[in-house]
């Protein structure tokens, strides 16, 4: 399993790079920003404060190499310090996580399924009505800044038509419960940011799926399938799409970083209180521990998904196993 071993090595290297960036940046920048931020924290538990002092190099009078290894140790045991309000960074992240996971998770899966299907169909009926219209349109839409699409939706459905709420995760007067009206309220609040994400990211999948599909349809085994007189839908799905989808799977994990970045902008545009909004507020509040913790978290999230996609690719594509 050389392939998987190589990918696992990459996983560890990337994680190490992200940790090192976090450690180096506060030390490279001019000014005593970190000192000022830590000075505002009062009554914080000493262990958490010490973890932060190590991370930002405040009040540390020892060899930087020792500090660096202490910092790495702290990160592996999940000691990322406390945020602006004295709440542990990990706790604050876990509180905001479900909202982002729900919104971005569902939107991304939908975009992938829709984009891949449209890509398959438009390559299959190349030059047809759908092919002439959808791929170029969505390609252009995906070049738009994601928040611009959000702003348009806010203007049309929120301000002009006043159909849907344009901010927050549920109505201010609603009490969280597992009742149907509350769930409905949550869904209506997630609709506009969700649609924004789907519309912008679906284009990515359509484009690559269509191109893969076109290349695959020219293969000999597809001709063989036709010669055997198989039903067209079997050739389309079992012969062509099945192989054409492989690069998209690895692409899925790669594009996830792009999608998560887009989600930060979407959550900010819609004041949706997930991780992205937390990221934004951490920059405005100069909440360095929170900001750096989130950067690590985002990197971890992408890394885990990349590794998962690698495993899946190794499972689906025998060629990678002995590569």
């Amino acid at each position: 399993m050389t392939y998987l071993r190589r990918r696992l090595g990459l996983f560890l290297l990337t994680l190490w790079a992200a940790l090192t960036i976090n450690f180096a940046l506060p030390r490279l920048m001019p000014g005593n920003e970190a000192q000022a931020v830590l000075a505002t924290l009062h009554g914080v538990n000493p262990a958490a404060l010490h973890a932060l002092e190590i991370e930002f190099g405040v009040n540390i009078h020892q060899n930087i190499v020792i500090t660096y290894f202490q910092y790495l140790g702290n990160c592996f045991t999940g000691q990322l310090g406390v945020d602006h309000y004295g709440i542990p960074v990990v706790t604050a992240i876990l509180q905001a996580l479900p909202w982002t996971l729900g919104l971005v998770g569902i939107a991304t899966v939908l975009a992938f399924v829709i984009g891949t299907l449209v890509g398959i169909l438009s390559a299959w009926k190349r030059g047809g009505r759908m092919d002439a219209f959808l791929p170029p349109l969505l390609f252009i839409v995906s070049s738009f800044p994601i928040f611009f699409v959000g702003l348009i939706l806010i203007l049309v459905f929120g301000v002009i038509l006043n159909w849907l709420p344009i901010g927050g995760n549920y109505s201010l007067d609603a009490t969280p419960s597992l009742s149907l009206p509350f769930i409905g309220d949550v869904i209506t609040h997630a609709l506009l940011p969700g649609i924004t994400l789907v519309v912008v990211t679906a284009g990515l999948w359509i484009f690559s799926m269509r191109n893969n599909m076109i290349t695959t349809l020219a293969e000999d085994y597809v001709k063989m399938g036709r010669a055997k007189g198989l039903a067209p839908w079997r050739i389309m799905l079992d012969y062509a799409a099945r192989n054409a989808i492989l690069p998209n799977l690895t692409g899925f994990a790669m594009q996830l970083g792009f999608v998560l970045g887009g989600a930060i902008l979407v959550e900010y545009t819609f004041s949706y209180p997930g991780l992205g909004y937390l990221f934004y507020t951490s920059t405005t509040l100069h909440d360095l521990p929170m900001m750096q913790g989130l950067f690590l978290f985002y990197t971890m999230a992408v890394l885990v998904c990349v590794l998962f996609a690698d495993l899946l690719t190794a499972l689906l594509d025998p060629r990678t196993r002995d590569a």
């Binding site: 070049s143 790669m254 970083g257 792009f258 902008l265």
Partner: protein, 311 residues
């Protein structure tokens, strides 16, 4: 059903290996102008460049002067209304074009250059150099771009130079990978072997022998990077990580968003810079799409005739 059996990379390398002969170039330019998407993209970019070069010809208002009525609606005097402090939105949009475009073009040129050096060097040298450069590329591909940009932009002093620096650092990786695989396909060609026999140094071979064969691919890389940079630069500034005293479309968006322009009824203050950013991104994307179609005939829209022969 007739399907041209041409793989994507082989077609691209054929056109790019045509070299700088006049006929090939003339044919390329003719195809470029014959392509509707390319024409539309070019028209958009020429229009925006013109505004960036001669903003004074387009508007007579001073973009920074807060001398007009507050939050006026669009009118003949103020085509897009005025801001919360009484500046003319249209003149801010027009004067903001220049810095917006400069950031995008400078970053795209530098990032394309970086990706070329890293990708081609990795492909040409092979061995340990290739492995380490490829790992570096992969790391930059995986670390999520916007979070990294936010952290970097936060710590550096805000302004256009920081914007350019951090965007250059984060936008070369994808194209470096593409250029590496193109470089790999060239490695065993005879003209490189003869250069090696002549005793040329690797840096000479990379810059003088390999890179000129990739001009069309480099142009495509430039466009690909530009599409992303337009979005990321505007996104960072929209989040408030730009310098508000510098006039760009992104900082305009930030100010409008911070003042709830959409909800308070001053719609064009926010919509106009958003539309401008989208237009710039679409201009690059259209050209990029057209480049793909020109470089790879398999992706061109199928002609009607081909359709009828389908089962």
């Amino acid at each position: 059903m007739a399907i041209p059996a041409i793989g994507p990379s082989s077609a691209l390398s054929e056109t790019s290996l045509g070299g700088p002969s006049t006929t090939a170039r003339a044919r390329f330019v003719r195809t470029l102008f014959g392509n509707r998407k390319a024409t539309a993209g070019l028209a958009i970019l020429i229009l925006i460049s013109f505004v960036a070069a001669f903003p004074g010809l387009v508007t007579h208002d001073d973009p920074n002067a807060a001398i007009y009525g507050i939050e006026l609606g669009p009118s003949a005097q103020h085509l897009l209304g005025t801001t919360l402090v009484g500046q003319d939105v249209f003149s801010q949009l027009v004067w903001g074009t220049r810095l917006t475009l400069i950031i995008v073009v400078v970053v795209s040129v530098i990032a394309t250059f970086l990706s070329m050096i890293i990708g081609v060097t990795a492909a040409y040298l092979g061995g340990v150099a290739d492995r380490s450069l490829s790992v570096l590329t992969d790391i930059f591909l995986i670390i999520p771009t916007l979070p990294l940009l936010i952290v970097l932009a936060f710590y550096l002093p805000s302004g256009a130079s920081t914007m350019i620096l951090v965007l250059c650092l984060t936008s070369w990786a994808f194209q470096a990978r593409q250029l590496r695989s193109q470089g790999l396909s060239l490695r065993s060609r005879d003209f490189l072997a003869s250069a090696r026999v002549r005793g040329e140094r690797p840096i000479y071979i990379i810059l003088v022998e390999i890179v000129p064969t990739m001009t069309s691919l480099l142009a495509a890389s430039f466009l690909g990077v530009a599409v992303y940079v337009v979005g990321f630069a505007a996104g960072l500034q929209f989040l408030g990580l730009g310098n508000s005293s510098e006039l760009t479309w992104g900082t305009l968006l930030y100010q409008a968003q911070a003042n709830d322009a959409l909800v308070s009824g001053n719609v064009w203050w926010e919509l106009a810079p958003g539309l401008a950013v989208a237009l710039l991104g679409a201009g690059f994307a259209l050209l990029n799409y057209a480049f793909d179609e020109i470089g790879n005939p398999a992706l061109r829209p199928a002609r009607r005739r081909r359709d009828r022969s389908a089962p």
